[in-house]
């Protein structure tokens, strides 16, 4: 440090605190890094808007097998929402359970191993999840989906059509997505749980709270905003996940709410991946336009999540 500072001092005559120059340089570098994020986002948005603009209003043939942009994207949007919802509903209880176990229940050595394993899960590439989910997991989930159809077939999500013959349903895709977003949610909530002030926890225990009551009254309220952020990050991943859905799901162009049916429309991201390589230029614009819709939707979801998390933080501060 002193070695690098001394030549600077000889150069900058008259400046009393030469280390400030390094400070300023560093501040400039991090500022550039921060603005790069913004620039990248804007660049993506501009690309999507310019390239996809003609995809919103084209001749009906472009929207085959449909005839307009709205009818084309509607099934995709429904599937995207359903798949992400399944993923979040399944992943959140597991993630919070795992995170609590790691942060408050498990012995130190076990918790370190578990945390490492969860992080390892995040490193599995999505194609591998897609292969495993489609060729292996789907077959095991199929009997369960037949059971759901037999007993809850009156619900629009589990009927009325026949259940999947091979498990390649939106339900299975949602489960695979759940496994993929689990490490993200777990890692962040774990970090937040660990941050709970020791004094809060000890105060709760001193007042006679059981372990569960301590978690309920001291840890969870403190961690709420962090948990919301974690879930929203997971949701963002689920909304945009491409390969796993494309490889697991058996698709059909028909809109359906039935998540255990024979086939469902692909999600927006999966649809782009499936169709881009053989698409004509008009169809490419259309696919990019659907990408723009997804981009804006994801942006909105994140914005709402920030707002919710911020509101909770404000409430906590009071």
């Amino acid at each position: 440090m002193t070695a690098t500072a001394s030549p600077e001092r000889t150069e900058s005559t008259g400046k009393p605190r030469p280390s400030q120059r390094g400070d300023r340089a560093f501040a400039a570098i991090v500022r550039v890094a921060a603005f790069m994020i913004l620039a990248a986002l804007v660049a993506v948005f501009v690309f999507l808007a310019i390239e996809g603009w003609s995809g919103f209003t084209d001749v009906p043939e472009t929207y085959a097998p449909f005839t307009s942009f709205l009818t084309y994207i509607e099934p995709l949007v429904v599937s995207t929402i359903l798949a992400s919802a399944i993923a979040v509903i399944v992943a959140v209880p597991f993630s919070i359970g795992i995170a609590l176990f790691i942060s408050h229940y498990a012995p130190r050595r076990l918790s370190a191993v578990l945390a490492y394993l969860v992080d390892l899960l995040a490193a599995v590439p999505s194609v591998v999840f897609g292969l495993w989910g489609g060729r292996y997991l789907a077959a095991y989930l199929q009997p369960m989906q037949v059971w759901l159809h037999d007993h809850f077939g009156f619900l629009p999500f589990f009927g009325p059509g026949p259940p999947t013959p091979n498990g390649r349903s939106l339900f299975t895709a949602g489960i695979v997505l759940a496994i993929m977003i689990l490490p993200i949610i777990t890692a962040i909530t774990r970090e937040v749980f660990v941050q709970t002030p020791r004094l809060h926890e000890e105060a709760a225990l001193a007042l006679g709270a059981t372990r569960w009551e301590m978690v309920r009254y001291a840890v969870l309220p403190y961690a709420r905003s962090g948990m919301v952020s974690a879930i929203m990050l997971g949701l963002g991943r689920a909304l945009g996940e491409t390969m796993a859905v494309a490889m697991v799901l058996a698709t059909t162009p028909e809109t359906t709410l039935n998540v255990i049916g024979v086939a469902s429309p692909p999600t927006i991201a999966a649809n782009i991946a499936l169709n881009y390589k053989e698409a004509t230029p008009q169809r490419q614009s259309l696919l990019i336009a659907t990408g723009l819709v997804l981009f804006v939707a994801t942006f909105l979801v994140n914005y709402v999540a920030r707002w919710v998390a911020g509101r909770n933080a404000r409430k906590m501060a009071r």
Binding site: A64, P65, A250, T251, T252, E278, A279, T280, R283
Partner: protein, 365 residues
């Protein structure tokens, strides 16, 4: 020790390179005008030709040197890039329509060359334990894929397969979820041959009017669902079905007999099919006769074409395109593709005609 290992590797390598380069130079002298050895050719298009193109490129480059690129960007983009001049040749699953033709013509300065390069029968394959082959007419296939026939022991199937043990299993149909030339040719066959049982127009996208099917990504995705699902039926490149070997294959009703997919059957149908209307003499574009009836014919197939210009300003490019395309449509090239990609070799008459069209490629205008 290190240096000696290096020397041991380097010496033969240098020797091999020298021999290789000498051979390349010889090859140049043999070709009409020379100078084509180091040419880099860029092309691209239909993904269906990908495996065959790999074989052709490897074989051609080994003999003649130079570099030939083929980008698997899809037919539409391939034609677009050819018409903009970015590609010197392109592959497409559908012959040029009139707009594409005039765009290509203005880029080339003359009628573009369009020759069939890759012909492949499409098999209708199914997964029923113990059943290796079933007879079906095109109306039955259309009804199955439209969701009208839902059980394997349906009378419409049973009546054409006396003696076959058909279970009471539900049929689940499998189609491509991505845009594909295979889907286009399959729906084209159904709409032309099924006497109105198939209502949707031919398209590269699976129609929404066909209910109850499962879409899967690419040929391998379709094969995956087919092999995993008892009672499934789907369509895929015959080579993929043969390579798998576990699935049953449908014999199509052609005339009064039932024919399994064969390379010869597909090649015969192509040879007998009428040329497409309004095509220049340099185009071999064909409207495949989906209702062919000759013995052994198999009209459910995919034909992929290669596009090129008649003249190129650069003589190296002209020679390489000419040499490469000549090799592709030659019986050597076709046999090589048949071996590695499972395609149907062009019959000698078509191959000769393609060769004579390709021989018109020259440099300068």
């Amino acid at each position: 020790m290190n240096t000696s290992t290096l020397r041991r590797i380097a010496l033969p390598a240098v020797a091999a390179l020298t021999v290789g380069l000498t051979l390349t130079a010889c090859g140049d002298k043999n070709s009409a005008s020379g100078g084509g050895g180091g040419t880099t050719l860029s092309g691209g298009g239909a993904t269906s030709q990908a495996n065959a193109q790999q074989t052709w490129r490897a074989n051609y480059q080994k003999q003649n040197g130079g570099t030939i690129n083929y980008e698997e960007v899809g037919s539409g983009t391939g034609v677009e890039n050819f018409s903009s001049g970015a590609y010197s040749f392109a592959g497409t699953d559908a012959y040029l329509d009139s707009d594409q033709m005039s765009a290509a013509k203005s880029q080339c300065g003359a009628d573009p060359i369009e020759v069939p390069a890759y012909v492949s029968p499409i098999a209708v394959a199914f997964n029923l334990s113990g059943v290796k082959s079933l007879n079906m007419d095109s109306k039955t296939i259309a009804d199955i894929f439209a969701g009208k026939i839902t059980k394997w022991n349906d009378p419409e199937i049973a009546s054409q397969n006396s003696g076959a043990k058909l279970p009471d299993t539900a049929i689940s149909t499998v189609h491509r979820s991505d845009e594909s030339g295979t889907t286009f040719n399959f729906t084209d066959y159904l709409s032309k041959a099924s006497n109105g049982a198939w209502s949707a127009d031919p398209n590269t996208v699976w129609p929404s009017s066909a209910k109850g099917g499962q879409g899967a990504d690419g040929t391998s995705g379709v094969m995956g669902i087919l092999t995993d699902t008892p009672g499934a039926i789907g369509y895929a490149d015959d080579s993929a079905v043969k390579a798998d070997g576990t699935l049953g294959v449908v014999s199509l009703k052609v005339g009064s007999s039932y024919n399994p997919p064969t390379a010869e059957g597909a090649a015969n149908v192509l040879a007998a099919s009428p040329p497409a209307p309004d095509q220049p003499p340099t185009s071999m574009a064909t409207d495949i006769d989906r209702t062919a009836t000759a013995p052994g014919d198999y009209p459910l197939m995919l034909v992929s074409y290669l596009l090129a210009c008649q003249t190129y300003s650069d003589s190296g490019t002209a020679d390489t395109v000419k040499g490469y395309l000549t090799y592709v449509v030659s019986s050597d090239g076709q046999q090589a593709a048949a071996k590695t990609a499972g395609s149907a070799p062009l019959d000698s008459k078509l191959s000769d005609k393609a060769t004579s069209i390709i021989s018109k490629i020259s440099s300068g205008s």
